[in-house]
């Protein structure tokens, strides 16, 4: 990757993600974002990450900033607490789709409603991968797994639409593999005052591979002021169930 990031952000921990996992790209995007921010008024010691439990959470060990490796589903309330405890901190949450939309969905809705001043980055690979591939709330109907041998019985939810109707004031979607674009959006998300939600479309190279390789469906939509309803409409274009429709990338809504 031809990006330059601050060495201060590196740790000496051995990375244990699967070879080819887009989590490597997300880590690069985050490092690039923080490097860019540190060139501005941001200080490394003011960043605090909170991670949930899942493959995404391992990023905790690979980033040399303060952090709290929290509970599955509870990364958001931990982050909200950190911000309440010291409002000067810049609080980032890394969470998975299982974390955010299954175990901890109430916190997702409330953080959006309350406009809590944190940045939520959801690594959505439509699968519980660290527990070997069970269905999550964003997995497609019919997804066969060891725990759902007859296929997942219900429809997935659209997290962007949920965030928008819950009152989130910054909603965006990025492609894990597009590091430079991701870093731009992440920077905007961190700078946004209020609840920022960034959905990261991410392949899992081992589980739920049917939903992978959708890059050709993805479009970076133009940055423009949208109403909440226009943003909902744009978010509804991609069908998480069928994997069909154009996957819009970029900022959907900001106020």
């Amino acid at each position: 990757m031809d990006i330059k990031t601050s060495k201060k952000l590196d740790t000496n921990q051995k990375i244990t993600w699967c070879p080819g996992c887009p989590n490597y790209n997300i880590l690069d995007s985050v490092k690039l974002t923080l490097t860019n921010l540190m060139k501005q008024r941001y200080r490394r010691k003011d960043f605090v990450m909170v991670t949930g439990i899942g493959c995404h959470g391992k990023i905790f060990d690979y980033l040399n900033i303060s952090g709290f490796y929290g509970l599955h589903g509870r990364a958001i309330p931990t982050a909200v607490g950190i911000k309440i405890g010291n409002p000067k901190l810049d609080v980032l949450v890394f969470a998975g789709d299982g974390d955010t939309y299954s175990e901890g969905i109430s916190h997702f809705v409330h953080a959006a409603k309350n406009n809590s001043d944190i940045t939520l980055l959801v690594h959505d690979n439509q699968s519980f991968s660290l527990t070997t591939g069970q269905a999550t709330p964003t997995s497609q109907k019919g997804f066969k797994t060891k725990a759902q041998p007859f296929g997942k019985l219900n429809n997935p939810l659209n997290p962007l639409m949920l965030a928008l109707i819950s009152g989130a004031t910054f909603v965006a979607r990025i492609n894990a593999r597009d590091v430079k674009h991701s870093a731009k959006i992440m920077e905007r998300a961190i700078k946004h005052k209020g609840f920022s939600f960034v959905e990261i479309i991410q392949d899992c190279v081992v589980f739920n591979v049917d939903m992978n390789h959708r890059d050709k469906q993805m479009d970076k939509h133009p940055n423009k002021k949208r109403t909440r309803l226009e943003a909902v409409k744009l978010a509804s274009k991609y069908d998480y169930n069928l994997g069909k429709g154009r996957i819009s990338l970029g900022i959907f809504y900001e106020e």
Partner: protein, 505 residues
Amino acid sequence: MRLNILIGGGAGQGINKISSIVSQILVKQGYYVFNYRDYPSLIRGGHNFNVLSISDNQIQSHESKIDGIVAMDNLTISKHNKELKKKGFIIRPTKFLEYGLNLNVALSGALIKILGFGNKILIEEVKKQLNNKQALEAANKGFESYDKKYSLKKLKNKLIIKSGSQGVADGAVDSKIDLYFGYPMTPSTPVLNILASKQKKNKLKVIQPENELAVVNNALGASFSGAKVMIGTSGGGYDLMAEGLSLQGMSEIPLVVYLASRPGPGTGIPTYTMQGDLDVALRSGHGEFPRVVIAPGTAEQAIQKTNEAFYFAQKFNTLSIVLSDKHLAESAFSFKEKARKILPISMKRKIPGETIVKASGYEHDFHGNTTENGEMAIKKTQLRLKKYSEIKKEASKFEMVQMHGKKASKNLIIGWGSTTGAIIDSIKDLDAKFLQVLYLKPVSKEIKKEMEKAKKVILIENNVTGQLGRLIREKTGIKIEKRILRYDGRPFKSDELKKELSKWI
């Protein structure tokens, strides 16, 4: 001299105002009072009652035989007539119905007259608490409508009155709490409300998150970023927090939990009392990790012991639980006013914003990064274990048990928490001493010593299985055979308890 006055009426009629006006007056006149609240889980109607116990000596309980009934409705009279002593009085609502919402003030006036106090102190108190024309008229009318029956004279005692909840809140404020997180649940809610009411004055914030899972994780996050925090909950809410308590154990971020229990299992009997949650206070949360569990028995102890809970949490980066129940939380206690000895709470840990610091629920190395290495796991586990032995050493400097009654007696009663007042009052004329266990984790070595000195040991608990008894057996190997257990959701009354104890002593 001791009087027990039952004050009853429908929910929403304002019986607590009567208790408040009358007990404030009594305390200012130097009398000890204890106010017990009995109310079902409904908001309007039904039947609520308080028992206001009055004495010229220290009392911390109520009794079953009633000297007077203050009735806001006829139901109160028909329900409690049989508890009334032969020469007991009844203050009826009928004469004062025209005062509407101020019926309670009129009845307060009548009661003050019956007790033998003058009109001036009544009017002063009503002005202080309500200050409106109708209330003052009602107070005067009540006062004029009854004859005095007793002749209570001003005493020299300098007393104050507080609920157990107020005690916990005061202890938290003494400890310079920054943030209190709580989700409403009886009987922990009063602390939420009390702390919320004076946030600016006490330089703290009270936050009500979406659920108890958010409460405990908010609190751990806030504590991680440097705030002094306490959370409050009861029964089911505490169960929801259990995973967060375990996270505290691994991440070692200071956390004070106020647990006010009520009868369970399940939703149980929500507005009544039970000491059923000692086991979960001691053990909830998966894995093995240190904690401190302290159970005050009176409002005065609640102030001090909450302060100690903060001290342990911050000094050892540990979990401190202040264990209470509905009877302690919602009863009002009077005690001698004296300057409080406040333990200074200092924070000695790294916080984000000042340096890079990592906390984790995973087993982690000394930088906070995840480890699955066996040797590191042993090292970290032993450090947590060592921390507990340091906690034990430190705890021995504090009052872990308190002895009451006749110190030389061979009859030993053991109890904890909200039964304390009733036990102390019940043994005043008995050959008995009472060992009140204040620290339930760690436990004091005194317990075993006292048990070995005693001829008879009696366990008193407000639960069905004798949870303290089990803990004592675990720690000392001694099984207490004689047990007085009450589990109808009601607290012990001192006269009934005395009768029960007299069978054994």
